[in-house]
Subunit: 157 residues, 2 copies
């Protein structure tokens, strides 16, 4: 399938998700390096009571489960809408190769989904954020990393 | 429990996670507005084959499941380490009230976990990113939002 065909398919999946009252108007597809579809995801935030159940995250989790891997090297992610910062982060951790999207942030914002706000918060001083992030001095804060450093047979990621 | 006590507990949970070979040296706790622990999460990326299974995301998912809600208003998130962009996004979507953390990004980077790289990628031009993001013109790109706009009985989030 061509890139545009996969994107049109994400649009259909997003519409179906809204019609079935399962969540927001978003869907994503992951295809492997041969262009075969591995998984798809639809936004399930409200029906699953899971604020992390965005379309891209659902697609990534399902693809990883199917491939029995925590990385999606060589895979392409197609999404009906430009990813939010959470999904962008997930895309990097999953190490997909490329992202194609249809609607951009502006269109999403006009539709009532303003991810731009979170993008702006990221670059603010920790304490100036709407959700403040406070560092507290904890004596043992490096112990987990020290333990990790000396562990044999650890699975790096 | 005091903030520092919860943070020390996240350190213990992170150590335990490494020792049991379940994943990376990270843990998080969510407490409700009365200071009671609602959930905890440990990094399960490698054992669950899920690149999104960071400690904070695990804790958020478990808290939402327990409270049967897709929002954690009034809750506090404690984490052994400053959140990565994916977890930061999840924190905003879950609408927790505040975040306290022990180790910062620099310590994490020294320990082999360089989230700073993803923070830098966010502010790059889409096509200059290590994982390129391409917009493709899709005629129907606004249809999911239009459908959402006219839906009755939708659950906003």
């Amino acid at each position: 399938m061509k890139h545009i065909d996969y994107l049109n398919h994400t649009i259909r999946l997003a519409m179906e998700n809204v019609e079935s009252h399962h969540g927001g108007p978003f869907a994503a597809i992951i295809a492997d390096k041969n262009g075969q579809m591995v998984s798809y995801g639809q936004n399930k935030v409200t029906s699953f009571n899971d604020p992390t159940a965005h379309a891209e995250i659902q697609a990534i989790r399902k693809a990883c489960e199917k491939l029995q891997s925590f990385q999606l090297s060589g895979c392409i992610l197609y999404t009906s809408c430009e990813p939010c910062p959470m999904c962008l982060g997930a895309i990097y951790w999953a190490r997909v190769e490329k992202v194609y999207y249809a609607a951009d942030q502006k269109l999403a914002a006009a539709g009532g989904f303003d991810d731009q706000f979170i993008y702006e918060e990221i670059n603010k001083e920790h304490k100036a954020r709407q959700i403040p992030f406070h560092a507290i001095e904890v004596q043992d804060k490096n112990l987990p990393f020290e333990k990790w450093a000396v562990m044999d047979q650890k699975v790096e990621y």
